[in-house]
Structure formats: structure tokens, C-alpha cells
């Protein structure tokens, strides 16, 4: 035993927590904050930052389960379409079926969960690769939203409904509380529970996880269902914020969500990732959008930057990983 050299942790001059991906990212975030703040004095105000938190909630809620999914080596491209479908059904069930609004919200959450469950059940039972399954449902769920709504929007919700999306609770945007609770719960689940550790095991070696007696299929089914459920929640928050439902809601969300997760250090190859990383990634994406907007860059040009960030951060992460593994 004594001949095996121990990993040379002691030799490191920099403490371990400083060279973690999340820490480096947080440092970059801090520098970006200060830089943008000095460029534009409207940027580094509490009002602006809280407002950015409000805007990031819809993507953030979905990014949490997406972190779980990408850690297992999977992906869910249908989240944006689920947001659209749930938003449409929220408005439709309220207006056309005459559901009371709270019931309509529950209905839309249920539909989100069901949409995610369908993804999960086909992925685990039929063994369709997650990428293909969720491309198919990306088309299917958006198609259902378009077909059901016939491109008509629903407006005129009761005043109280706008509380979630537009009001403050204890000085903080109401929906930001939802996101904070979701972040804390997801972080604890991922870090401190058997369920969370199973996700890493699946991502590192699914066959080994299966042979170790882990309930791989059940865990996967749960995370895809969760992804749909959170997309439904995100739809409710979105509708409440923008006061209308349209079938094109949530288009392109998958880009923001996946970019935030990957930027946050979760490996697209599975097995690696943390909720804290995703939170920092989310903040980076939102501040990037906000910073660019304040310097006069239009929304369409922002998605160019986010697309480039997605590719570059994956490139950097994978080359770092390869270096670590000495390949």
C-alpha cells in the first residue's frame, strides 16, 4: 500500500476551492460586474440587479432540473415547448373550460409534469436517446400549443394573478423567492441525498450504476418529469409577468438554459456539475444580456453572444478536462 504515491494535494500552493470551476466563474462574474458597473452607472444599482433576478427566474427554474439531467449525461431540448404548451393551457383552461385560475395553474403544472413524464418514460422504457426524444417532443409540444391556441392569445387575468410575476415580497421580486427556494432544495438534493449522488453515478458510468443496484430508470424518469413540472411553473411565472399567453412563449429557452448549465461547469458528457455552478452560470448569462442591452446592443445580437459563449465554454471545459485526465 505504501508504495502507491498519494495524490499530491499538499504541494498545491493555491487552496483547492479557488481553482474550482465555480469559484473561477464567480471571480469572472465579479470582474464583469465591476467592469459593467463602471461603464454604466445604471447597471450596479440594487433596483437593476433585482430586476435582472426577476427576468432570470423563468430560465432559472428550468436550469435546475436541467443540471440534474445533464449530470446524468442526458439532455432535454423540449423545455421551451413545454413552457409554450403550459402557458397556452393555463390561459385556455381558464378562459374556455372556465376553470378557476388556481385550478388552471395546477392544471398547467400537471400538464408540464405529464409532458416531462412522457419524455422520461420513452427514454427509459424504449431507450430512445434523450436528444432525439426531446427533439421530437420539441416539435410535438410546440405543435400542440399552436394547434390548441390557433394563434389566439388570452389576456385579462385577475389582478391578484400578477403578484407572482410583477410584485415584490419583502423588497425582493416575488418570483425570485420561488427560485431561491428551488435552488436551495435542488442543491441539498444533489449534494446530500442518495438520489442526488445516483445522478453522478449514472453520468459517470450508467452500466456500473445499474449493476450497483441503483434504480437508474426510476431516477431518470423522475428528473425528466421534474424538468417538465418546472417548465410548467416557469410558464405560470412568465404568464403572470407578461400578462398574456401566446403559443410562441418559451421559444429558444433551451439555449439559455443549456448555456447557463454548461457555463456553470456541468459537463455535457455527464458526471460532473453543481447547482452553485448553474446559479453562477445563470447570473453570468443574465448580466451578459443586461450589460449588452445597456451598452446599446439589441436583443438579437445578444443571442449571438450566448451561442458563442455556449460553444466556447464547452470547448474550454472539455480541453481542461482532457488535460486533467492526461489524455
Amino acid at each position: 500500500m505504501s508504495e502507491i504515491p498519494l495524490p499530491q494535494v499538499a504541494k498545491r500552493v493555491v487552496p483547492w476551492w479557488l481553482i474550482r470551476h465555480e469559484t473561477m466563474l464567480a471571480l469572472i462574474l465579479l470582474i464583469a460586474l465591476i467592469g459593467l458597473g463602471s461603464l454604466n452607472n445604471r447597471f450596479l444599482t440594487l433596483d437593476n440587479l433585482l430586476n435582472q433576478g426577476r427576468l432570470t427566474t423563468e430560465v432559472g427554474l428550468i436550469a435546475l432540473p436541467m443540471t440534474f439531467i445533464i449530470i446524468t449525461g442526458g439532455i432535454d431540448l423540449s423545455v421551451g415547448s413545454i413552457v409554450g404548451l403550459c402557458a397556452i393551457l393555463l390561459g385556455y383552461s381558464w378562459k374556455v373550460f372556465g376553470f378557476p385560475l388556481p385550478l388552471a395553474m395546477c392544471f398547467s403544472l400537471l400538464v408540464g409534469a405529464a409532458a416531462g413524464f412522457l419524455n422520461g418514460i420513452v427514454i427509459t422504457r424504449v431507450k430512445v436517446p434523450p436528444l432525439i426524444m426531446t427533439i421530437a417532443t420539441l416539435a410535438l409540444y410546440r405543435g400542440l400549443a399552436e394547434g390548441i391556441s390557433q394563434a389566439r392569445s388570452v389576456r385579462g387575468y385577475p389582478e391578484w394573478f400578477y403578484f407572482i410575476g410583477q410584485e415584490n415580497l419583502f423588497g425582493v421580486p416575488a418570483q425570485l423567492w420561488l427560485l431561491l427556494i428551488a435552488i436551495v432544495v435542488s442543491a441539498i438534493v444533489l449534494d446530500r441525498t442518495t438520489f442526488g449522488r445516483t445522478l453522478y453515478a449514472i453520468g459517470n458510468n450508467e452500466t456500473a450504476a445499474r449493476f450497483s443496484g441503483l434504480a437508474v430508470d426510476r431516477v431518470k424518469l423522475i428528473i425528466y418529469t421534474l424538468s417538465g413540472l418546472m417548465a410548467g411553473l416557469s410558464a405560470c411565472v412568465l404568464v403572470s409577468r407578461v400578462t398574456t399567453t401566446r403559443s410562441d412563449m418559451g421559444i429558444g429557452y433551451e439555449l439559455d438554459v443549456i448555456a447557463a448549465v454548461v457555463l456553470g461547469g456541468t459537463s455535457i458528457f455527464g458526471g460532473v456539475g453543481t447547482i452553485w455552478g448553474t446559479v453562477v452560470g445563470l447570473a453570468m448569462i443574465q448580466l451578459l444580456k443586461n450589460g449588452l442591452a445597456l451598452t446599446g446592443v439589441k436583443g438579437d445580437a445578444t443571442i449571438v453572444v450566448i451561442g458563442a459563449v455556449l460553444i466556447l465554454s464547452t470547448l474550454v471545459a472539455s480541453s481542461l478536462q482532457r488535460k486533467r485526465e492526461g489524455v
Partner: protein
């Protein structure tokens, strides 16, 4: 395993049944069957004008689906192609309007298509980043870039000679349909009989075995993406020249329609299997369905849902069939 079955089936009468049950034959039957069924409900559907409009207006999807099929057979995916077609159409149209020789305007679309796709191929094959990440990123770069450069302005006043889609052969065969058929046949022959074409199947079917046979996996992937870019360029020209204006925005969800055509055409999403004849027939079928919805009084807003169901059913059927074959 497939090779064995084919070789052994030489004189087998069941072989004829097998040909009939192939994906291509099923699709051809579906295309004709649907036409008859809808025609019985509403004879106006079968008007020559309607059928030729369906073919003309969607030939570019079939051309793009040929490249997409190669990409999927090689075990990859590309969701940036819809955005790329929008960008290439705009590039070509802008050049034509600004007085560049028409041939240059046409070639520019092809060259730019090859360049963008080859770049993606290099990132995927040599830097080993999953195709979905690269093409998702490229999708937003192209989409955002196009709108912010053009401001969404339409290109009008295109010179008459620019309209490739107007050319007709023998006074009856329109160029888009001609190109669709030509590209499909050439690509099908190339993929079936040439060494480089077979390499695509080898790489998609079993990358390790392909490597041991001396096939360079990265080089094959880059080649496939470059070709895919060429077809995307050709598709963009058909798309740009069929109307008198170019909208300078990305056609929404075009990539989904193209992927649907490839997958429904029998290209296995697990890689290694599929033909471009199937994908072209599937492109025609999807266009026919979209048109049929109107004639049977169903709102065209349902077309995307129909596409989703089509992909889902084909993919599940493909995987179940493979599992049964592996079990037998």
C-alpha cells in the same frame, strides 16, 4: 447482420416481400394512398396545380434533408441548418440585388454553406464537442446575426435571372423538382457504392470498427458536414428564388421539418442506417400532409404537432424493430 441477411436472401421469394416492406416502399405507398384518400374527400386536392405547388414549394426541404440524412447516418445531428438556409438565402439575394454576377451570387451561397458546416464539422470531429452543443450555439449565432445585420428588412427587386426556381426543363420539369430528384439519385448511388460513401455508414454504425478498418472518423465527419453545407446552399437557392422576395429572417422551425423528413425517411437516429431516397419521399409526404390538412378542413396550425407525432412513431418503431432483430 444486415449484410448477412441480404446476402442470404438471394433467391428467397420472401425477398420480394422484404422490398415491399422497406421504409421507402412504405413511404411511396403512403404518399400515393394519402393523395387518393384526400382526393376522394376533396377532389380539388388532386388538381395538377396543387400537386405541383406542393412539390415545387417543398423541394428545397428534400434537398436539405439529403444532407441531414448523411449527418444523422454518421451518428451526428444538426439543428442549425434552418438558420443557415435563411442566412445563405439572404447572402445570395443581397449579392444579386447589388449587381454581382448571378453566378457569383449562386456560388456564394454554396461556398458559404460549405464553409460554415465544415467549420462545425471540425469543431465536432477534432475538438470532440457534441454536435448538439455546437449546432445549438451556431443556430443562435446565425439567427441573431441575421436579424441584427439585416434588421429584418425584406430583399425585393431581385433580378429576373436570379430566379433559379423558374427554370424549366423540356417545358414541364421545374428546376427545383429536377434538382431534388438528381441530388437524391446521385447521393443515394454515392452512399451505396463508393468507398467514401460507405465510410459514413461505417462511422455511424461502429466508430471503433471503422477506425480499425482504416477509416478516419474525424475526416469522414468533416466531409459529411461539408457536403451537408453544400446541400444547404442548394436548398437556400431554391428557397430564395421561389418567391419574388427574400424575408431575411430565419424560417421558423425549418430544421425540425428537415430532421423529420430524414428520420421519417428511415434514417436511424442511432446512426449507421438509412437512405436518402427515403428522406426525399418523407419530405414529399410531409409537404403533402401539410397541404392535405387545408383540404380536409383542419387548421394548418396542427402541422407541427403532426410532425412531432411522425418523428416519435418512426423513432420508437425503429428502436423496437432493432431490438426484435437483436433478440432473434
Amino acid at each position: 447482420m444486415t449484410a448477412l441477411t441480404l446476402a442470404g436472401a438471394g433467391a428467397d421469394p420472401r425477398r420480394r416481400l422484404k422490398v415491399l416492406a422497406s421504409q421507402e416502399a412504405l413511404l411511396a405507398i403512403a404518399v400515393i394512398g394519402l393523395a387518393i384518400a384526400v382526393g376522394l374527400y376533396n377532389p380539388r386536392f388532386l388538381a395538377v396545380r396543387n400537386l405541383s405547388d406542393v412539390l415545387l414549394g417543398n423541394a428545397y426541404i428534400a434537398v436539405a434533408a439529403v444532407g441531414m440524412s448523411m449527418v444523422i447516418v454518421s451518428g451526428n445531428i444538426d439543428i442549425s441548418v434552418g438558420a443557415l438556409i435563411g442566412v445563405l438565402a439572404t447572402i445570395s439575394g443581397t449579392l444579386a440585388v447589388n449587381g454581382a454576377p448571378i453566378v457569383v451570387a449562386w456560388l456564394a451561397a454554396l461556398v458559404a454553406g460549405v464553409a460554415v458546416m465544415a467549420l462545425q464539422g471540425v469543431i465536432i470531429a477534432y475538438l470532440r464537442i457534441p454536435a448538439i452543443v455546437v449546432t445549438l450555439g451556431m443556430l443562435s449565432i446565425l439567427k441573431g446575426g441575421l436579424i441584427s445585420v439585416t434588421g429584418g428588412k425584406w430583399i425585393t427587386d431581385l433580378p429576373d435571372s436570379f430566379h433559379l426556381a423558374d427554370i424549366e426543363f423540356f417545358g414541364m420539369l421545374p428546376f427545383p423538382v429536377f434538382l431534388m430528384i438528381l441530388v437524391t439519385i446521385l447521393a443515394a448511388l454515392w452512399m451505396r457504392y463508393s468507398a467514401s460513401g460507405r465510410a459514413i455508414y461505417a462511422v455511424g454504425g461502429n466508430a471503433e470498427a471503422a477506425r480499425l478498418c482504416g477509416i478516419s472518423q474525424p475526416r469522414t465527419v468533416v466531409m459529411v458536414f461539408a457536403l451537408h453545407g453544400l446541400f444547404a446552399g442548394a436548398a437556400a437557392l431554391l428557397y430564395a428564388t421561389q418567391l419574388r422576395v427574400i424575408q431575411s429572417t430565419v424560417p421558423p422551425n425549418l430544421e425540425l421539418t428537415i430532421i423529420t423528413a430524414s428520420v421519417v425517411g428511415g434514417v436511424s437516429i442511432l446512426g449507421g442506417v438509412g437512405t436518402v431516397v427515403g428522406s426525399t419521399l418523407a419530405a414529399v409526404l410531409i409537404a403533402e400532409i401539410a397541404s392535405a390538412l387545408v383540404f380536409i378542413d383542419v387548421s394548418p396550425y396542427w402541422i407541427r404537432a403532426v410532425q412531432g407525432v411522425l418523428i416519435l412513431v418512426t423513432v420508437i418503431a425503429d428502436i423496437l424493430r432493432r431490438r426484435r432483430m437483436a433478440g432473434a
